[in-house]
């Protein structure tokens, strides 16, 4: 494979597309690598990533149906339908935050478009999410979920969420090269986000005047759409999907811009 002359100042959308094709093999191999590392150090491996949402589900179900009596029918399904997309958002962004700062050997020793590192990390999280979802689906059905054709729309919602995660990850990964406590800050933001997203409650309990601010949370609508499909067995409206898609594209544009701006100094700061 003979490459054309590479100039350092080459920088356009075209370069990205070219490199996406050129690095397709690399992206796939790095995703596999990421995956292996995630599950290598525990013999239970993937089982952990099922036990975690299941235990959260059990605890929250106990708290909300026995102690607080939330009155929501079939609470475990109500919860899981939101918990799974939330887990992808929080794990995806958190894991990606350290991809540049925590990878000095790849950043300093060889040239590779750096966004590839973030993208592959996100893809690995995404595949985990899909596996988690597939493995938990029978459990959800056993718990009383009705499986309808509405589920065919779910991939669209998932892809929108992936774009949101990618946009945020690019920004977070770039910023955390320069601010090493970004990871800790993001952890706190996510803890807050868990309560500010409609995971264990119905969003209608939010007072009307705060509704606008509440809906600024980029994952709110993704969670609501997932729940509509899995729990209420209804289709989200086109509007329900267009808004998060717009948010996703906006986040991607901003995240990528921040990333490109800070990228030239990555090798010096890691």
């Amino acid at each position: 494979m003979q490459e054309p002359i590479q100039r350092q100042d080459a920088d356009s959308a075209n370069t990205v597309r070219m490199s996406m094709l050129q690095y397709r093999d690399v992206i796939w191999i790095l995703v596999k690598k990421d995956f292996k590392i995630r599950y290598r150090n525990s013999s239970l491996g993937f089982v952990w990533s099922l036990l975690n949402p299941l235990s959260t589900m059990t605890i929250l179900t106990l708290v909300f149906s026995l102690l607080l009596k939330s009155g929501i029918q079939n609470f475990p399904i109500f919860l899981l339908s939101a918990l799974l997309p939330w887990r992808f958002f929080s794990i995806g962004t958190m894991q990606a935050t350290g991809t540049i700062a925590g990878n000095p050997s790849l950043v300093k020793k060889i040239y590779l478009p750096r966004y590839v590192l973030v993208l592959t990390n996100n893809l690995a999280s995404f595949i985990s999410f899909l596996m988690e979802f597939t493995a938990l689906l029978p459990i959800m059905v056993a718990l009383g979920m009705t499986l309808t054709l509405h589920i065919l729309l779910l991939p669209v919602v998932m892809i929108i969420e992936f774009l949101i995660v990618l946009g945020m990850s690019l920004g977070l990964a770039a910023l955390s090269v320069f601010y090493r406590d970004f990871y800790q800050i993001w952890e706190i933001v996510l803890q807050l986000g868990f309560f500010l997203s409609p995971i264990f409650y119905d969003p209608n309990i939010i007072p009307e005047r705060y509704r606008f601010y509440y809906s600024l949370n980029p994952v709110t609508r993704v969670i609501e759409s997932t729940r509509e499909i899995l729990f209420y067995n209804t289709f989200p409206t086109a509007f329900d999907l267009a808004i998060p898609l717009l948010i996703a594209l906006l986040l991607l544009a901003v995240g990528y811009a921040v990333f490109r701006r800070l990228e030239p100094r990555f090798a010096e700061e890691t």
Binding site: Q6, L30, K36, S105, K109, I110
Partner: protein, 249 residues
Amino acid sequence: MNVIEVEDVSKKFKIPHERKNTVLDAIASALSLFGGRRSTFEELWALKNVTLNVVKGRSVGIIGENGSGKTTLLRIIARVMRPDQGRISVNGRIAPMLELGLGFHPELTVKENVVVFGAIMGLKRDMLKRRIESIIEFAELKRFEDAPLKNLSSGMQMRLAFSVAVETDADIMLVDEALAVGDIEFQRKCLDRFKRFKAEGRTIVLVSHDMNLVTEFCDNAVFLSRGEVVASGNTSDVVKEYIRRVESQ
């Protein structure tokens, strides 16, 4: 034909007097700004107006004292760092051996690391499969191919990095003091391989403090001092100039 063109390249590093790289630090210093305390830093020009061309098939040695900008120059050629001024153009694929070992991921096995490196170097999947054997063979690591990289000695890691770099069909190899940790036998083997690499019409840029190696192996040399090119051209002249300078100090 020039495979590497470095035109008037400068690179500046900012060295802060007090390291501030957390958000908390940033907030603290923003607040104390009103009190008149500012964070200060020193500027260091790691490279100053460096111009250098490398002709295809030649090997070039870069010499100079510690901190003269040799590694920074290699990093800029490898596109790992970007210059603040000037431009670089590289025609061909680069196999960098910057710092010791590839060490992509200590938890992955030798084989898996080779796959990652090979893919980044642009080897296609089927090609990669065939090459893995010869890479591990050359590094004499057959016994350890399924061991995690972290369990290998530093010399072994260097050997692996070297074999991967020469076996991935790169046009240009950048070598930063990598031979130093290998044992004598492997150093010999590397040198032979380097010569073959060169005979195949490929280009090598070598950073080294080993003047014998540079004299024996390089067609041309560049002498860097405090980020500037002091002398360049015929290897033995440049090496002589370097030694003269060191002795006159």
